[in-house]
């Protein structure tokens, strides 16, 4: 555990994060975008955990708990919105909705 240097974690998490970002950018389906966002957030959780482990500072891990809670709430809202959208547009494509522009 301790043998793994911190920047490995850093690099790994960054990669995960970027994957999440790319997912958000590339995908058009709301659900998948939600998942990608989750991925981003989880990569951050991992990073935080790693940091706190290395600095022997509990704050990081505590923060992770907070994030989990918030993320859960966010997803709950997110899904609710998805349902709402689906009711009106019968699709999960984000590009369908662009009445509001210019």
């Amino acid at each position: 555990m301790a043998s793994v240097p911190i920047h490995y974690y850093l690099f790994f998490c960054s990669v995960l994060f970027c994957i999440g970002v790319l997912g958000v950018l590339i995908k058009r389906n709301v659900l998948i975008i939600l998942m990608s966002i989750e991925l981003m957030i989880n990569s951050i959780n991992l990073l935080l955990a790693a940091f706190s482990a290395y600095t022997n500072d509990p704050a990081g891990q505590i923060f992770v708990f907070f994030i989990m809670v918030v993320a859960a709430a966010e997803v709950a809202i997110g899904l609710a919105i998805v349902v709402l959208i689906y009711r009106t547009t019968h699709s999960l494509d984000i590009d369908v909705l662009n009445k509001l522009k210019w």
Binding site: I6, L10, F17, G20, V21, V24, V30, I33, I37, M40, I41, S43, I44, L47, L48, F51, T55, D57, A59, G60, I62, F63, F66, I67, V70, A73, E74, I77, G78, I81, L84, I85, T88, T89, I94, L97, N98, K99, L100, K101
Partner: protein, 458 residues
């Protein structure tokens, strides 16, 4: 502290009333509650305290801005009765969520620790996602909430990443710890920290609606129910700007700000793009959205200047801006209900049918345009002075160009109201509503003529 507790309590009470089907009591309770909260907040003045080992820092800045936020919310709630009249469904949830959002905002003004900042932002944002979509039937409302949600959660991801990196670099979430770290490293901050810092900035910039992270603003503003747009345009913006300013002032205070250039550029972009885009808007609500974008640019001016006076300038500016904007949205509510759309054409000739409303909107517009002796002018004036004092001549020139351009769209409603022939229906506002409008108008005059009521505080 008391503020946050009282507000939370208030929110819970509102929900309770909702369960007890006491619709009529809700609004009065809220208004009273907000006023008490305001009172409690102000009672914290000059009693700087650190709570939960620096999770919260209740200093005067925090108090002042919390007061502004609560006051704005109060002003917005004054419209609620008229806005929701005739709506059958229970409204306790909306009201409660607004209040919880306010709690989030207050947290953002008084955080002492990035965790709290995050909590505050999320409380605010999640609540707003809901509010944006609160008009379930309207497809525009749906679109607004979707866009806001996606972009919001996406960007908050970056915010988090930034916080994480900062933590990694400095080994602390607390502003104090970070400050120590910054002081220790001085000029050569590690790239990781910088990366974190800028991601944090980006995250906040998104909330403030700074170019190029502003894209959500116009669409969401347009789609969201007007009352809540007002809330977004004022409370959210103020809270976020303050959060940003607070972060800098607690961590970088008195040190060269690495972030200066970036914010400089962002501010310039925001001012220019905001104003330019506003010029051609046929839609009053969208126009207000762009105007709010340009105003966030002006607020950044103060942040860039980052002098001891910045706090004062921001305070006055956010207050004047909020009041004027709320006033404008108040009229917009009437226009919407009279004509069913937000286009300038539906303002045509209302100067004859509703002189009072026309006058109020005119004052609001002039104030936003920054014409003396209205509050807006004083706000702008202090921003410019703070900036010039720091020698940001070119930024100020850009800002001035911006406000020259802004005239062209702030005058559109005035021209429509006074110089066009009436076609849309008459706005019908009750006496209390009118009274409130007039109150806001007077407030604009008051703040313009006696700015020292606010300006000396911080």
């Amino acid at each position: 502290m008391t503020t946050i507790l009282s507000l939370t309590l208030l929110g819970v009470l509102v929900l309770l009333l909702g369960i007890l089907k006491k619709k009529t009591l809700q609004l009065p309770l809220i208004l009273v509650g907000l006023l008490t909260a305001l009172a409690l907040t102000i009672s914290d003045w000059n009693t700087a305290r650190h709570l939960f080992n620096e999770m919260l820092i209740i200093d005067n800045t925090a108090v002042a801005f919390s007061a502004v936020l609560i006051f704005s919310t109060f002003l917005i709630f004054m419209f609620a009765a008229h806005y929701y009249q005739g709506v059958q469904r229970p409204l306790d949830d909306i009201y409660a969520i607004m209040i919880f959002a306010l709690v989030g905002a207050v947290l953002m003004t008084s955080y002492g620790n990035l965790i709290m900042l995050f909590i505050g932002i999320e409380t605010l944002s999640i609540a707003l996602y809901v509010l944006a979509g609160s008009h379930k039937e309207a497809i525009t409302s749906n679109e607004a909430t979707l866009k806001y949600f996606l972009l919001g959660s996406f960007l908050s991801g970056f915010l988090l990443f930034g916080i994480a990196l900062i933590y990694g670099a400095s080994g602390s979430f607390s502003l104090h710890g970070i400050q120590l770290f910054v002081i220790a490293n001085g000029q050569n901050l590690p790239p990781m920290f910088l990366a974190g810092l800028f991601l944090l900035i980006v995250g906040l910039a998104f909330k403030i609606a700074v170019v190029p992270f502003h894209f959500w603003a116009p669409d969401v503003y347009e789609g969201t129910p007007t009352l809540l747009t007002a809330f977004m345009a004022t409370v959210v913006k103020t809270a976020s700007v303050v959060a940003m300013y607070r972060f800098f002032s607690h961590t970088f205070y008195g040190i060269y700000g690495v972030w200066e250039t970036t914010i400089w550029v962002l501010a310039a972009l925001t001012i220019l793009l905001g104003n330019f885009t506003g010029v051609y808007q046929p839609n009053l609500k969208r126009m207000l959205a762009y105007s709010s974008i340009s105003h966030s640019g002006y607020m950044l001016l103060a942040v860039v200047a980052f002098s001891p006076f910045t706090g004062n300038a921001l305070l006055l500016y956010s207050l004047t801006y909020s009041v004027a904007t709320i006033l404008a949205f108040g009229i917009l509510i009437l226009v919407r209900e009279a004509n069913g759309n937000d286009y300038f054409t539906s303002l045509n000739g209302i100067a004859r049918t509703n002189p009072v409303e026309a006058f109020c909107l005119t004052i609001a517009m002039l104030s936003l345009a920054g014409i003396p002796p209205l509050a807006g002018f004083m706000g702008k004036y202090f921003l410019f002075t703070t900036a010039l004092e720091q020698g940001l001549l070119w930024l100020v020139i850009i800002a001035i160009t911006g406000s020259a351009i802004s005239i062209s769209y702030y005058f559109k409603p005035i021209v429509a109201m006074y110089l066009k022939e009436n076609e849309g229906g008459k706005l019908n506002s009750g006496v209390p509503f009118k009274a409130h409008l007039i109150f806001l108008t007077l407030l604009l005059f008051l703040l313009g003529i006696l700015p020292f009521l606010v300006i000396g505080l911080l």
